[in-house]
Symmetry: C2
Subunit: 241 residues, 2 copies
């Protein structure tokens, strides 16, 4: 099954941009009249008929649609500090999208070695992984923000279960495993924060706890930042199976 | 914490090969008398004192040791068909090692596009990920074998829980999710098989069932081969948390 992404759905028609049109018409050689499946990136799959096979700007007419197609039974925001090596963070974006994530927030922590992150490549990777894993909703990848700015966003309070994974030892703060916390909760709107290689700063961790975040650990293995982020997505994904 | 791998431990001494010696002496500038931590790749961590700082063949004297250091409470064999793109399989090897896996079996299936796989690079990646994630045991990466040869190996019968993830629809064979099966079992010696992009052949799947493998699914998302393999490791790792 091949999916195409429509940057615009107006009335009965889906509009494909130059890249999607080229893939549809030049690479896959679809012609006017062919049946094609189109997603809007917002959760809806459209079964269509190609009405314009221009390789620069193809158009398809909607015959039927399926809402919340390829969705998952939770809403997950994953805040993660981008890694020094961009490829590792982009790998996390691909895997999180395949499994099912709703929002990815690149966080800049006080201990982050990477203070700047451009989201363009991650956006493309998320689109490609969304189509490859047969989903209609592309995860939102927001612009980078500091850990502290994210923690005080009213929006970050929406989640009914807010978790922060950090490693530095503070015996006064008991941490439970992410699975223990998920087992003890029926929350389906979840936010998980993963720190940079240098971990969150004590001030960031304290602010998170003050704002209702619960400290968790991801088990005994010392995981790389991107592995920890994928493990958090896997925990939420697998827990709902 | 920096770990070095000893290719040989004889009596009170650990021998480092040229690569580990160069890293220890040239890069990290350790000198005779320095305290160093050495793993044997079999599960034991040795606290040592460097007794020979030759950059080609360093030697360290064992002061104390910790058995089963950085271990996990299960024994997991992951059989997976190598992907067309080698990097994706090697990424799986790195992540599985970070989380905790005991044996990786590169499987060649009837539908595999890749019929040949060399394990040298994966061995190096597993060693590096073992040290990075603070473990003393390097997962065994066996030479590639056909799915059918693996299924009839007496060795493959050792596991008390044998699972095969496959996608092709056969309504006569009900599949449960890997989490359901793990929840219903107290098995700690587990084998999971993940097929190639083209899935297992019906004959391979039938032979697996005949040999005591239980069919499972990994949830609603369509996962790439390497993502499915990591998700199986995550399920076993997270389930024991």
């Amino acid at each position: 099954m091949e999916l195409f992404y429509a940057y615009e759905v107006s009335g009965r028609f889906c509009q494909l941009d130059a890249e999607e049109s080229g893939h549809c018409v030049r690479v896959l050689r679809h012609r006017t009249g062919d049946a094609v499946d189109v997603i809007d990136g917002l959760g809806t799959l459209y079964h269509c008929r190609l009405t314009d096979d221009s390789p620069k700007g193809a158009q398809a007419e909607i015959l039927s649609e399926e809402a919340n197609w390829g969705g998952h039974p939770y809403h997950l925001t994953l805040g993660c500090c981008p890694t020094k090596n961009n490829e590792r963070f982009e790998w996390f974006v691909e895997k999180a999208t395949e499994l099912g994530v709703d929002r990815i927030v690149p966080l800049i922590g006080e201990h982050s070695e990477r203070k700047v992150y451009k989201t363009e490549r991650a956006q493309r990777i998320a689109l490609s992984a969304t189509k490859q894993s047969l989903k209609a909703r592309i995860p939102e990848i927001v612009e980078p923000m500091s850990v502290k700015d994210f923690l005080v966003m009213p929006d970050s309070d929406r989640a009914s279960l807010k978790l922060i994974a950090y490693c530095f030892e503070d015996p006064s703060i008991p941490r439970r495993s992410i699975m223990d916390v998920l087992r003890a909760s029926d929350a389906r709107d979840i936010t998980v924060l993963i720190g940079p290689e240098g971990d969150f700063s004590p001030e960031e961790a304290a602010l998170a706890l003050k704002n209702g975040y619960r400290p968790i650990h991801l088990g005994p293995s010392r995981l790389r930042t991107e592995t920890a982020a994928v493990t958090a997505v896997e925990a939420v994904y697998l827990y709902t199976l």
